[in-house]
Assembly symmetry: D3
Homo-oligomer: 63 residues x 6
């Protein structure tokens, strides 16, 4: 049943997503007892032009 | 008032989305009594590279 | 795969939710070809004290 | 802590998003007392082909 | 059209929500040109027992 | 930055939520390199009366 919606900045690699899907599902299954097959992970990627903290868009912040 | 957010894999055709918008709105109006004009349907399309079940990204599962 | 998130005001009856779950799933399956068992419907109920249109909370609007 | 998710049609300009991020964060901070740095604004842009009101996709409505 | 989903900790007062609904709608209308009546604000309140930062539930953090 | 929204059935214990917050944050930090303090986990609990699979509300399914 559980659905993990991961809101994150665009730009993660294929390997990172593969590993995240595996690891987040494994931890969810371990702690809740849900079968892995019932767990969904959805990556919602947002560009830094569409995400702001402190009132400033991330792509306009000095890093 | 009601907002139907439809999380689904990318790739549905224009006809499917047209029909889904019509059918889901009609059923929502029929059952709740809300006027169709007050019902919103939003399709949130996600690629199979960003959706995992059982810890495996859909675009890496054997079908 | 599809997940239908239904944002609606609190207060629907058990019968309405039962009928909505059935009808929305049936229409989704009909139009997309997804098997009903792969379709999830989640009702996110919000009170009129937490929902505003036109800048006014619904429980403070004259109807 | 607060996260403002803004679901809106695609097509806003960079200036509009910059101003929205600033203004929404400022109002949130003013009213709740949260420090601006703890407030996140995320723009979820949806095309008019993926948004329907009254059962009709916005890009197929006569305006 | 725009929908502002405000994820925040439970506990805001009625006055704060009234003022937030008004202010967020006014700023959205000012910047985007959307009519206020087309703008929805939904407060999604979450308890500190269901929200974590840094891996620790907020109601278990020393403040 | 990342926000993990966990949609799950109501009923998890305090210990499970504590462990989930810790484990999901740790895995997210390990794989993405984000500092744990920048990672938020939000549990969105839904009752079995508000969640359906296969068109049937979970609290009306024979288990």
């Amino acid at each position: 049943m559980p659905i993990l919606k991961v809101e994150m900045l665009s730009g993660r690699t294929k390997e990172q997503k593969r590993e995240l899907a595996k690891a987040l599902t494994a931890e969810m299954a371990r702690v809740t007892g849900n079968k892995p097959g019932t767990i969904q992970v959805i990556f919602a990627e947002t560009s830094s032009a569409n995400w702001a903290t402190g009132g400033i868009l991330l792509d306009e912040q000095e890093h």
